[in-house]
Amino acid sequence: MNVPASIAEVERALRERHYVAERGLATVIFLSLRLQKPLFLEGEAGVGKTEIAKVLADLLNTDLIRLQCYEGLDVNAAVYEWNYSRQLLHIRLLEATGAHEQEALKEIFSPEFMIRRPLLQAIEDRDGPPPVLLIDEIDRADEEFEAFLLELLSDYQITVPEIGTIRAKEPPVVVITSNRTREVHDALKRRCLYHWIDYPTFQKEFQIVTTKRPEVTADLARQVCRFVEELRNQDLYKLPGVAETLDWASALSTLGAVSLNEELVVDTLGTLLKYQDDIQKIRAGNVGPLLEIARATNGEDRAR
């Protein structure tokens, strides 16, 4: 596998793929690749946790296997399932050919009759480099599911009672994300490198907007980022993430805006804020002052 040789190289490789990462994140990615330990990313919604896995897969030139978690996710959906209808058909076939013996029947619990789900796919032998396994929003799954993961994450192996233990020749690159809607068990965290992704600084966010949305003018991007930065200092129930900043920039650019004004902001606030209380609060008199700050900094930057 083509593992970057230094933290700086990780940073550069990410930037080439339009992912602007803070130094801390680049470091933890580097370590995760080097130490072959799973990466556990936590952070508010929309700060680019899932995106990292995609970029990593591209960077390592390998497949991305994604497991979206949800409540009730079980072994059947995450690891493997037996192909019941095929098993039943096979039994019929055995009957028809007269090979009706207990030994023959055992065949139906062989790999042939197995449906491979993401976790098993990720550790099975394959051509080419090991894949990137993204276990997305693990906090949505229930505690029972975390227990399944423990064996996988510490030894990169899975035990199927009917077959035995399947072990990865080369461990996959594992990225686990969580939105912190509940605490994930320590046993799981202990097996991973933990990183909290914060909202980016103004500079980083500006870079993100200009890289990801080249159609947005630099002036507008600067105003947008400053406005959002100020918005995050407000007392809001749900603060806008980077994803919202990008949406907003796109929306403004689609409307043909080159600079922020009050009417535009009020009309497009729904792309940034997703709670009615928050929207009302900002509309009720905060737009003006926020705009002033956003525009003022624009001037400063230009002066610089």
Binding site: Y70, E71, G72, D74, N76, E81, W82, Y84, Q87, L88, I91, L94, E95, H100, Q102, L105, I108, D139, D142, E144, R180, T181, R182, E183, Y237, D277
Partner: protein, 469 residues
């Protein structure tokens, strides 16, 4: 439930022929006190007693204990009842002592027969009350020493009876100790929530294909037997938010004790305390020893007995914690007297938000125990429309009622009004008591405002029908 059998007492002459009856009688006594005793255990005990020296009290005690007691919490009950049973010479004496004892021993367990209704407690146990008055009268100490051991036990439990009705506020430190003990013995159960995960169950409605195929392999793969599965249930998470401001001073210690017992009695409990600001105390309360845990809590809390800002506290909870602890259909309990010195509008907004985010919102108010109390303070008035249950929490009895309530919470969300702000509450999903209180509050309020009498019962459907006509 009456213990009607005669004890042909296993006496000094040790007539072994009545052993089975006596074992059954004893088991029934334990069951009456809320312990779970299966028939298998009874049979085991009869068999086991055959193997030991039946005259040796210590041996009998340990044999019975090892077979009948399955939980540590049951030990004090078992000890008391064993003592009682061993010393009772006739069935009458046993019945009499048991009935003196059991209402209080059994009271923490949800067995309908042995829980007296709040109203008739005093009628059903007049003797007990009398004895306690004597004790409370001051001549108890000397008399105590002459009493036989079982009578002492009875006295202890009689004062427990009083203790159960006594407002936390009026506890002496001894009583507080005893109440803590009683609280520790309370068992908490909480309503179940259906998860999205399956468990094997013969009565399940869905087919479990994997197990069906495996099971039928021995029939040569011919499917004779179907295996089923159903959705598993789990207890709902519980979040406790307790007011420890100055006005709650008399209750705080006891209530923290309560938080501690709940934390240890249930699986997933998060606890917070607040006066002017919110502090999470879940980790502190996890310490086993309640004394140490409470010390840890007081170290963590910086605003003991400060002023109250309920709105702010709930706001902090909503912003910083709700997303992390309110998943999976949580039940939230706020414990406060509603004396709020903060912003009422904030309280209203945040209560509304909190109610939207949890499965059930319960407000426990110690003042609700006072007969004359009416929820008229601004704080309570602002919060009440968004509360699903409004319950007292001022003595052990009310805690017990709360326990029963938690266990019974339905599998369906209470019906909530789209715009609950207009009038306090409506019928669906609210307890009768709450409606009564709300009506009383509304009445008092309108009366105070000198409003014309037609508006007195705006909520009552009959009145509105009449008006329509």
């Amino acid at each position: 439930m009456q213990l009607t059998e005669k004890i042909e007492r296993v006496d000094a002459n040790r007539d072994f022929s009545h052993l089975p009856e006596n074992v059954v009688l004893f088991a029934r006594l334990l069951r009456r006190a809320g312990m779970t005793i299966g028939t298998g255990q009874i049979l085991d005990l009869i068999r086991a007693l055959d193997l030991i020296d039946f005259g040796n009290r210590v041996d009998v005690y340990h044999t019975a204990r090892v077979i009948l007691v399955g939980r540590r919490e049951d030990l004090p009950i078992f000890d008391t009842l064993f003592e009682l049973f061993w010393n009772a010479r006739t069935a009458e004496i046993l019945e009499q002592r048991a009935s003196e004892l059991l209402p209080s021993v059994g009271s923490f367990y949800p067995i309908e027969d042995c829980i007296p209704d709040q109203g008739n407690v005093d009628e059903s146990t007049p003797q007990t009350v009398q004895i306690v008055y004597q004790e409370a009268g001051g001549d108890g100490d000397e008399a105590d020493e002459d009493l036989e051991p079982q009578t002492k036990v009875m006295l202890a439990y009689s004062s427990d009876e009083i203790l159960r009705h006594k407002d936390f506020e009026n506890y002496t430190s001894d009583e507080l100790q005893r109440a803590r003990q009683l609280m520790r013995e309370m068992r908490w159960k909480i309503a179940q929530r259906r998860t999205r995960r399956f468990e094997a169950h013969q009565l399940g409605r869905r087919l479990d294909l994997r197990r069906t195929i495996r099971r039928n392999l021995r029939n040569g793969g011919e499917v004779f037997e179907l295996a089923h599965r159903r959705l598993r249930t789990r207890p709902r998470p519980l979040v406790l938010i307790c007011d420890i401001s100055g006005s709650m001073d008399h209750y705080s210690r006891t209530l923290l004790q309560f938080l501690h017992t709940v934390e240890h009695g249930l699986d997933r409990v998060e606890a917070f305390v607040f006066a002017t600001r919110l502090t999470r105390v879940t980790r502190q309360l996890r310490t086993r020893d309640p004394g140490v845990a409470l010390t840890e809590v007081s170290k963590a809390v910086q605003d003991w007995s400060g002023g109250t800002r309920i709105g702010e506290a709930i706001r902090t909870f909503n912003y910083a914690w709700s997303k992390r602890v309110l998943g999976r259909g949580a039940i939230v309990m706020i414990i406060s007297d509603g004396w709020d010195r903060g912003d009422i509008a904030t309280l209203r907004t945040e209560m509304e938000r909190l109610q939207r985010n949890c499965y059930r919102l319960i407000w426990l108010n110690p003042l609700l125990g006072l007969p004359s109390y009416q929820p008229l303070t601004q704080g309570i008035q602002a919060a009440l429309p968004f509360v699903d249950d409004f319950m007292p929490v001022h003595n052990l009895d009310s805690l017990q009622a709360l326990g029963r309530h938690l266990e019974k919470i339905e599998g369906r969300r209470p019906t909530r009004r789209q715009k609950p702000g207009d009038s306090a509450t409506n019928g669906a999903g609210t307890s009768f008591r709450e409606r009564l209180l709300a009506a009383r509050a509304a009445k008092a309020k309108t009366a105070a405002d000198d409003a014309p009498p037609t508006f007195l019962y705006v909520d009552a459907p009959t009145t509105s029908n009449e008006r329509r006509r």
